[in-house]
Point group: C2
Chain length 554, copies 2
Amino acid sequence: MCLLISIHNTLLREVDYKLAEQEAKEKRADELFKDFKEVSITEFFRKNKAHLGYSGKVRSLTTAIHEMVTNSLDACEEARILPEIRVDIKELGQEHYKILERDNGPGIPAKHISDVFGKMLAGTKFHRNIQLRGQQGIGISGVTLYSQITTGKPMKIKTSTGDGKVHEIRLLVNITKNEAEIVETKVYDDDWKGTEIECELRDVSYNISEHGPYEYLRRTSIANPHAKIIFVDPEGRKHVFDRTTTVIPETPSEMKPHPKGASVDDILNMAKQTSARRVSSFLMDSFTRTSNAKVEEIHESVNFDLKKNPRKLTWQEAEQIAKAFEKIDFMAPSSEGLRPIGEQQIKKAVLKILEPEFEAVLTRDPKVYSGGVPFQVEVAVAYGGKAGRPSADGTVKSEVMRFTNRVPLLFDAGGCTITNAINDVDWKRYDIKDFENSPVTVFVNLVSMYVPYTSAGKLSVAPEKEIEKEVKMALMDVGRRFQKYNSRKRREIEKETRLQALLKYSTELALAVSKLSGKDEKKILSDLKEVIKKRLRYEGSLEELTPKPKAAKG
Amino acid sequence: MCLLISIHNTLLREVDYKLAEQEAKEKRADELFKDFKEVSITEFFRKNKAHLGYSGKVRSLTTAIHEMVTNSLDACEEARILPEIRVDIKELGQEHYKILERDNGPGIPAKHISDVFGKMLAGTKFHRNIQLRGQQGIGISGVTLYSQITTGKPMKIKTSTGDGKVHEIRLLVNITKNEAEIVETKVYDDDWKGTEIECELRDVSYNISEHGPYEYLRRTSIANPHAKIIFVDPEGRKHVFDRTTTVIPETPSEMKPHPKGASVDDILNMAKQTSARRVSSFLMDSFTRTSNAKVEEIHESVNFDLKKNPRKLTWQEAEQIAKAFEKIDFMAPSSEGLRPIGEQQIKKAVLKILEPEFEAVLTRDPKVYSGGVPFQVEVAVAYGGKAGRPSADGTVKSEVMRFTNRVPLLFDAGGCTITNAINDVDWKRYDIKDFENSPVTVFVNLVSMYVPYTSAGKLSVAPEKEIEKEVKMALMDVGRRFQKYNSRKRREIEKETRLQALLKYSTELALAVSKLSGKDEKKILSDLKEVIKKRLRYEGSLEELTPKPKAAKG
């Protein structure tokens, strides 16, 4: 519908008139710009708490716990420590809680404590092409900020790297400067190692819904079967989510980027940081799968000398390289940096926690999205037992557990690629007639060193075709397995029904034939059973072939 | 389900063994922290483009145009100028476009140009409690960033404040420093006033879907009936979205915060910035609805002297003030800072653009959420005509248009409170049997000086009960109006059907009676029609009462 409409002359005149009238009241640019100023990142997030996941009282509490637990798990994994994490939530008043989180991790070096907890966009993970839960250096400073703006209380940190010294620091954030404001600091001798965080939050509330801390920790335990998590809830109940394996996931390793999918801007940025002296060696050093032979191929499609200093690359030259990357075939990216949970581990956790009647687990082969970013998808479907989510009306609904790099995503399911993929599966085809109202738990873990989140709160995966397709393929695969199981189950039920009918009939038949023929009833019955056994391919013993008494109705 | 499980002894021993084994490989904290560093906000968003709305090729193009147009509309509104905005999109190659956007706004003072386009978190709007489309000082620098990382090309800005000098600047962003890198700057004499931006983007694509620039501008025009928007699409077609009013929306005015909903942290922050010398005058100056009498009331519930210097307020004292705020009754926040579009203006725009068979528009009274943030909801429902969205299969689906402060939200409908409210309405009750498949357009505009967005991309409103409720109430209201219209329409159709049946019957009857009685057939028919007219309360003339010929079937 094109809206090409010519302006009527009279209207034009009216506009001119109004314009003239309004011109007089017009404000000048310098007047409008008198308040122009810069704000700090902390100030930005203070005003936009919702971007960090602080919206809604339950969600805010879960977010804070998520930030702490995520940091603990990452630190332990990198330090090769079997994590033991304790979370205590105490209710101090209405919508007012204290959280204590403690790990047995590597501790934080004294000089970094204030930046870790009090400075946003500071961290160890941002520049590394490595699969970790955290990434941005925002999360834990966000907890300090939220604690401060709701209670005015500093964050209390106790940490030791195991060098015999324990550092205890209480700090706030300076919002305009984006840095920590140390309130108190203490050092004392002790042999302990680890990190303990204590903070107070208001405007939060605790419940046991699927958005609350209990569910968050339960799911964290499923996706991190090597972690022991102890949770003491506000009523003082202790919940132990024990580990089902003692094998620490392999250390995530840094991976060089793959040439496919590298943008011109990426190439230029990397070229600025390389220590290589020639573009040729820079390409081999900085990208994976870029052998001597590949550099030769690249050389043939660019019009400048690859002996050039990489720091002097122009946009046009980098563009030629990017185009050569696109044209040339490279080996697929290695998946060595990817750390899936693994089918065995997921299965153990699912069996222990959901005790399902049926389960199927699948870790797909690594794939790439957006040209060159490797990722991997793991899914599980559990049916029956404790699978699904009991609803208020007593029925069991289906339950979806989304994870990225083993971190549960409890919110923002709506726009998430994982949700889209799940909804896109035609579950009816796999004998799950009414997906919504079935006792089924669907588990999806997306593994990548770079997950494309939609927001700083990292709760929803942005639409990427390749990721959505992989999740769907994986679910269809486990769906087919369920269908097989289900039709086998159905066949067995049918077989059992036929068996029971035949047995009942043969008992009566044996009696009748025995009366007519005078032969031994038992012998006849046994012969009949032999026939039934053959026909139905029954594999049990003959003795078992007696009609079952009807189950008493409760 | 509690997972309190005691650890089995043998497992414990195994754990100890593994722990010992792994201890040897443990990494120390200082090793893990060797890469600890701070990154700039630009670097952060470079890596997390999706937070700014740059995910997906169509969406990225729409996002860039949105940022430019939003800035132009805000500037014109503040400067009291009737906006005339021109957007040209040219295709330069595959997924490679040039955008030119020009306004007749107040221009940008020379000294601020580089910060406006090259520095994130710099702007005029962040600290002001005022209803504007933009807010964060991120959007337009984000366009410079996206242009730079996809094409390496600088943003070109031409601007004049009407002082006879035109400044032309080409700039890039320095990613690590979060500041502009001027490539070229020119000043020349000219009488023009306004701002013109030109940039090149790759990895974007243009289409006419409901997520594309055309739809974005069409909806912008509906919600900004005072703006004239000229759009030249990549095929060179010119679309003019003309203004339907020449009245500029009232200047948004800054509003003082309302005491209800002010957190302790808010009070302390404001106390630091006040020029008042006493807490009592600070409270009256900085908050709305805080009269002398109210300050007296506050005085009675705190244990310190309100003559105190506000800069010396402690958390505990501010907490007492916050508690007093909670306890005391204040007048509801004034809505003077809220700038709804207005029922008349929405109606004009809806009639012009959708030409519906039925429309209902409602601007609700202002309300508050989260204690003290004023907001207002406007809705419209249009039915029939060009309402709804034609789908590929030829049928018409329902169409939802979400707006916040007149800005169309084209993405992330999933988690948005507005969407939730729309889905929550039981449309069947209002005679829209199958909402999804009805020719209906639902328009919702949420107006507030502080919209709680879920992400920096500002496309989705975070869950707030009060907002959701207001949207729902408003929709139910216009829903009832549709129902009334529809049942009247139905009654009229029924009446018409009965009328036609009676007329047909009376013609035959008149003939028969005439034959039997010998009386004049016309007289009898006329008498019969008189009776029908009375019974059906038909108000037309008698001549019109002739049976309609059946419509020919096409």
